[in-house]
Symmetry: C2
Subunit: 192 residues, 2 copies
């Protein structure tokens, strides 16, 4: 997606060989104009899959999920929670996720009542690297007797295996930008 | 706000004497149609304050902040982070916040570069109870040489002191719904 590529070229920073910093417009400061355009791009890509619900995981996926859901006719968004919430009640679906950023495993959880059986789920997230968060959300959807009809990602790290594995399984995956590598702090992008 | 009152009456649940559960439409599952209406209500309330930036704290404030920022002409959103992020770099403003829900103190942090000096900040959050999160964000704004021009809250717990204290200080505060108490699981709301 042209506008996201431009933002990554202008504001993105590469750290080491594998960290892509897009805090300036995506996951600390949010450029809401760009966010709306990303929401529109996801909606165009996945409208024909007829999603009934958008799922993401807190925190930085929420803005993107909301933007996509609004463009898809105000679908509900459900965001999986990361920490055990003391006031949580009701039946809960959980799945483990290993975070390479934080070097630890944590659980994500969704209250079952919020994802009706038979939901057609569009998963949205800001990053795709090893695919662990998406895998966790896919497991949640299985427990919830619901189908993942598409996966929309803002920034895929093409040099990590998550995207390839999902495409090999025939899943409808759309990444708005694919980073092919980082060289001397400069982020290399795959052409649209 | 009428639509929020209706949603609280229909889907909200009171636990004990002080927990207000609005997971069904606000902070686990998000009703994006209602979210847009809340964003519009915040924009109408605060447009004359000429905010240049919307600030919130992850995670459940993000959707509301984005909805308000879109309605205010695509303002940038900055969400304060709760956990120390290993890949964070640059100068950071931090403030302590005590969470009554989780019974512990944590730090919130914002990278200074994302809030330009002299910003006119609209703080948005899903809940206001004792006002600790808002107080923390206000401290961040002071460190960032920026002014809090308004505070927009979805659900204020009117039986806790945060709202009263802010109003006593002459701060422009708007809560779209004010819960006056919980009786036998039923949430009591202050009339609009």
């Amino acid at each position: 997606m042209k506008e996201l590529h431009e933002a990554i070229r202008k504001y993105g920073r590469g750290l080491g060989t594998d960290v892509v910093k897009v805090d300036m417009f995506l996951n600390h400061r949010i450029d809401t104009e760009l966010l709306c355009k990303m929401g529109k791009a996801f909606a165009e890509e996945f409208r024909n899959e007829k999603p009934t619900l958008v799922m993401t995981v807190e925190a930085s996926g929420i803005a993107l999920a909301v933007a996509a859901a609004m463009e898809l006719g105000n679908l509900p968004v459900v965001f999986a929670k990361k920490s055990e919430n003391k006031v949580q009640t009701g039946d809960v679906a959980t799945a483990p996720v290993y975070s390479f950023t934080h070097k630890k495993e944590y659980n994500i959880r969704v209250e079952k009542r919020y994802v009706p059986r038979g939901s057609r789920v569009l998963i949205i997230d800001d990053f795709l690297a090893d695919g662990k968060a998406v895998e966790g959300m896919t497991q949640l959807c299985q427990q919830l007797d619901s189908e993942v009809v598409g996966i929309g990602i803002a920034v895929e790290k093409g040099f990590q295996p998550g995207g390839q594995q999902l495409r090999a399984r025939g899943i409808h995956l759309k990444s708005l930008a694919i980073v092919t590598g980082i060289e001397n702090g400069k982020i290399q992008l795959q052409d649209d």
